[in-house]
């Protein structure tokens, strides 16, 4: 049985563009959209740097998609969707609108949701709203407190009847979802998998938690929001949270013969590993292991990779570690950028949205600028300091998570 796995559709919401068309334009132009946001808690006003999706109007965006009216009407009738779910659902619907679905066996379609604890701001809101009137709790909270509520919504709307589950691997959740979905197809059990990473919607508690652990950048008087996010610069500030969501649809080669869906790229290889380390610090060895596993599964030598979408969060230790791993893996033909320099860190959604950024660059033949590298952390890597046209054949997307979770995926052009 031929179980090659291909990406046949994508959908995305980011701070520099809602939908694939706008996100592609944003990447080409090297736009970013960072701001210092004030949030109130009790009497205190806190300030956090972040990249925000402005003017997100869910139903207006759904209406603009090329979908049957009855599906749009079903979407309109669904109540009590959280912000995280609306972001995720829109990306699924965008991807779905690109597919030929007539000949799909919906019992052979699975849904993999990337991320855990994706709705923290919603949950805090419910707790605040019902603090003094617990008995009047909206019963919908019994559904929406599960991240997997979105799986129910998607399956009901699209009548998907295969398997559904969520995958949590901290900031590597997006990549881990692609890896698990690839396995579902390679096993022969499923023809298609909808991989969705909804918005990881942080409340002020998570923002403060990431500040406390020293991972997140602090707002500064001496540096403006446009310069705050500096992956691979010699003076980085820590990561900057970005609001985003993404979906991609994976399909088997056999299924594509029936559906005539067109491939954007293949999932040629992947690697994942643990560092046996509960802490947030990364490991050169662990990162080399997953890049090596991905290369070996894809049957490629290091020199074949001509683009890397780095994890590159702008954490000093993280960026140094990843740079060293890339150099030691002899990935010297690769142009390297960090999509986080434009849209921030989507945490559990980052790996999937950055996979989508990778696929867009492959399809369009360019590499986007990696912003704010004034003085690179190392000269041994080919950083993309300005947008370039480049034909990308084999690309690598790295994603690493707290708790020593490493992932790397190779996408190949056909």
């Amino acid at each position: 049985m031929n179980n090659n796995v291909f990406v046949t559709a994508i959908g995305v919401v980011t701070p520099i563009g809602i939908g694939v068309t706008d996100f592609t334009a944003g990447l080409k132009q090297g736009n970013s959209n960072f701001t210092y946001l004030e949030k109130k808690w009790n009497e205190k006003t806190m300030s956090y740097p972040m990249a925000i999706v402005q003017d997100f109007q869910f139903l207006k965006e759904v209406n603009a998609l090329d979908l049957p009216d009855d599906l749009k009407n079903k979407v309109k009738r669904i109540r009590n969707l959280t912000k995280s779910e609306k972001f995720g659902l829109l990306t699924v619907l965008e991807a779905w609108s690109q597919l030929n679905i007539e000949s799909i066996d919906l019992s052979k379609v699975a849904i993999v949701l990337c991320g855990s604890n994706t709705q923290m701001d919603h949950i805090l809101g419910v707790h605040e709203q019902y603090r003094e009137k617990l008995t009047f709790m909206n019963p919908n909270y019994g559904l929406s407190l599960f991240d997997t509520d979105l799986i129910g919504v998607i399956s009901e709307l699209l009548q998907i009847k295969g398997e559904g589950f969520s995958v949590g691997s901290a900031s590597a959740s997006g990549n881990m979802g692609v890896i698990q979905a690839t396995r579902l197809i390679r096993s022969g059990e499923f023809d298609q998998v909808v991989v969705v990473a909804p918005l990881m919607d942080l409340s002020i508690f998570e923002l403060q938690g990431f500040t406390s652990i020293g991972a997140m950048a602090l707002c500064s008087d001496s540096i403006g929001p446009t310069e705050i996010c500096r992956p691979f610069d010699s003076e980085p500030n820590g990561f900057v949270y970005g609001q985003m969501a993404g979906s991609l649809i994976l399909e088997s080669e056999n299924s594509m013969k029936q559906t005539n869906n067109k491939a954007i790229a293949s999932v040629a290889g992947y690697g994942s590993s643990l560092d046996s380390n509960r802490n947030p610090n990364p490991s050169v060895e662990g990162e080399m292991i997953v890049m090596g596993k991905a290369l070996s599964m894809a049957g490629l030598e290091s020199k074949a990779i001509n683009y890397i979408n780095a994890h590159g969060t702008a954490s000093k230790i993280g960026d140094l570690t990843e740079s060293e791993a890339i150099v030691k893996m002899s990935l010297r033909n690769a142009s390297v950028n960090s999509t986080k320099s434009l849209i921030g860190h989507g945490l559990t959604a980052a790996g999937l949205v950055e996979s989508i950024a990778t696929l867009i660059q492959m399809k369009e033949g360019f590499v986007h600028v990696s912003k704010n590298i004034s003085q690179p952390i190392t000269e041994e890597i080919n950083w993309v300091t300005q947008k370039n046209e480049k034909k990308l054949n084999h690309t690598m997307n790295n994603s690493f998570g707290f708790g020593g979770i490493n992932t790397s995926i190779i996408y190949s052009n056909l």
Partner: protein
């Protein structure tokens, strides 16, 4: 009082099911026939009790299948 409660239930039902807006809603048709699923009914009860500031367990109302029945059950707890 019961009429007031019926009015509140109707308003809440339209809030939950906007497709009923402008429709004539029968007080004796079952919620199921009106198109409300179990989540909608649960939310209807929670919203109605909240508007009336009635702290009563929802278990008291699970048997109410129509607007009239629900209004009667709620009225028992409303002074």
């Amino acid at each position: 009082m019961k009429n007031q409660i019926i009015q509140i239930i109707k308003e809440n039902l339209v809030e939950i099911m906007p497709e009923l807006e402008g429709e004539e809603i029968s007080l004796d048709e079952t919620f199921l026939d009106l198109g409300a699923n179990s989540m909608d009914r649960g939310e209807l009860i929670a919203l109605t009790l909240e508007k009336l500031d009635l702290e009563v367990s929802r278990i008291e109302f699970v048997g109410a299948k129509t607007i009239n029945e629900l209004a009667e059950a709620v009225a028992k707890f409303h002074n």
